[in-house]
């Protein structure tokens, strides 16, 4: 603190003093101990100090607050704006509107859209036999099979084994129903068409354009986001919907039975590496291997010694879509013996 003749200060003088203000506005140990000591030495100035404190406190400004979800949305938009590899983001803002006044431009655009929608819906109701450009198709993968699909909007979907998939595009929405595991690389369309992935449980994923993995095998659903941002809706038994957002590198795990969910940070690469034919193992347990054999090949591992379930390995291995080869690899990695009995696999130390 500077040497100032504080003993001669009036209440206004204190209130105008930068160091004094600083103590009131942003107190810390150093400032507080300085001023407490000073007041102790100068009890006669107590009244002036008290008034000065109330003066500084009386400068208040109207408050403006963002809700948490607004903050999340701004944060997501920051990353969206950086996605330079998807130049169609926010096409509305790219469109040349020079020479026009923004506000008016919107009014005209809105009028045109309203007109268009009206004409469109009249036309559509008049001619029900030809649904407008709506596309529906389904596909599935068998055990030990992986498939890449290219959708009409040039989005790419990779399906893991044992997965059922339905796609439908109509009007302003692209929708997928999926059971199994799929990796989505969704293209952002010029007209901001939503892309929704429905699972057969109360969870769906809504995006504009991004890359993510959805896995519904077993008793849980996991959604891992590699890039961009996505919105999830989870509805409970009373049909109440909860919306939440996932950021790049986050995983949501949803328990199908209880409806509970948790969100955590993960290395997204680990969860999408299967699409490039590699299994990245990070404390991969025998239980994980059992789930893999079950999901991909429909083979059941019988593990009698439950202590083995927790043994884990780290590293990576190629995914070969042949159950015998995968078993051999797992066997070597875990240093265990596998015995095949039909569709069952018996494990021994």
């Amino acid at each position: 603190m500077d040497k100032k003749n504080y003993e001669f200060y009036t209440a206004s003088d204190f209130a105008k003093d930068e160091d004094f203000q600083q103590w009131i506005l942003c107190p810390d140990l150093k400032k507080t101990s300085f001023w407490e000591k000073w007041m102790h030495q100068h009890p006669e100035n107590q009244a002036a100090i008290t008034e000065a404190i109330s003066l500084v406190h009386s400068v208040q400004f109207r408050s403006y607050n963002l809700t948490n979800s607004e903050k999340d949305r701004i944060w997501d938009n920051i990353w969206d704006k950086m996605n330079s590899d998807e130049p169609e983001v926010n096409p509305v803002f790219i469109a040349p509107v020079r020479g026009w006044k923004w506000k008016n431009w919107w009014k005209y655009a809105a009028a045109v859209i309203v007109g268009f929608v009206a004409v469109f819906s009249i036309w559509k109701s008049a001619d029900k036999t030809t649904p407008s450009k709506s596309i529906t198709f389904s596909d599935h993968t068998d055990q030990g099979e992986m498939k890449k699909l290219l959708l009409p909007d040039s989005s790419q979907i990779t399906l893991n084994a044992n997965t059922e998939f339905v796609f439908s595009q109509s009007g302003n929405v692209r929708e997928v129903w999926m059971k199994g595991e799929g990796y989505f690389h969704v293209k952002h369309t010029k007209d901001n068409k939503e892309f929704i992935v429905h699972t057969y449980d109360n969870l769906s994923v809504k995006v504009l354009g991004t890359r993510f993995n959805v896995n519904t095998f077993g008793d849980k659903i996991s959604v891992v986001l590699e890039h961009g941002s996505i919105q999830l809706s989870i509805s409970d038994s009373t049909n109440h919907e909860t919306q939440l957002y996932l950021k790049a590198g986050e995983m949501l795990t949803y328990n199908k039975a209880t409806g509970d969910y948790t969100k955590r940070k993960v290395e997204a690469e680990r969860f999408v590496s299967w699409t490039s034919g590699r299994l990245i193992l990070d404390h991969y347990t025998l239980n994980d291997a059992r789930a893999f054999m079950q999901n991909v090949f429909g083979k059941e591992m019988i593990i009698q010694d439950s202590t083995l379930l927790k043994s884990s390995i780290s590293g990576s291995m190629p995914i070969i879509y042949k159950s015998d080869t995968m078993l051999l690899q797992f066997g070597k990695a875990f240093q265990l013996h596998f015995q095949k009995h039909g569709d069952e696999i018996w494990i021994e130390k």
Partner: protein
Amino acid sequence: MKELQPKQINLLTVSSSLGDLWEQFQSGDRDAFSKIYRNHIDYLYHFGMHFCLDSERVKDCIQDLFKDLWLDREHLTQTVQNLRYYLISSLRRRLLRSLQKDRRHPSDLLSDSFDFQLILSHESALINDEIYNEKKLLLQQGIASLTRREREVIYLRFYQDLSYSEIAALMAMKVDSIYNLVSKAISLLRTSIVLSFFFLFL
């Protein structure tokens, strides 16, 4: 001498944690970046709303600010004294630029009708509503004599906690002028508050 120790530790940790966070952010740590965002978003939004009352514009400029911060992180200065000051001055420039580009706003709007509205705190239980309203009226009359720019200075000092010299740099003013303005505001407040004390004892 013993009592000096905790103060020093306090100072050290405060300054090094900002340094660390900034360094982590510059080396590409997204968590550090997210922390910076979380720490400052409320203050930036509050400043922006007082500056132009246009929520969408404020959000847009904040998005651009953080986007550019991330993309340019390797080229930014390595020592930031006060991140709040750094971010507010950037947001202020962006808002000005955005408003100038926008033909909806004639430029004279910038000089006057914006916010930075001072309000009286209603904390003292001794003061009843009548007196509070009396105070408020007096204060408003006083505040009306301040220009928008002057109110912005008061705001930056008392809400955003920027130093006199930071405000001077931000507003392209002299430190003396900042001091005089703060004096003026304090006098205004004092008149209204002291008068209300006077009413209280009548």
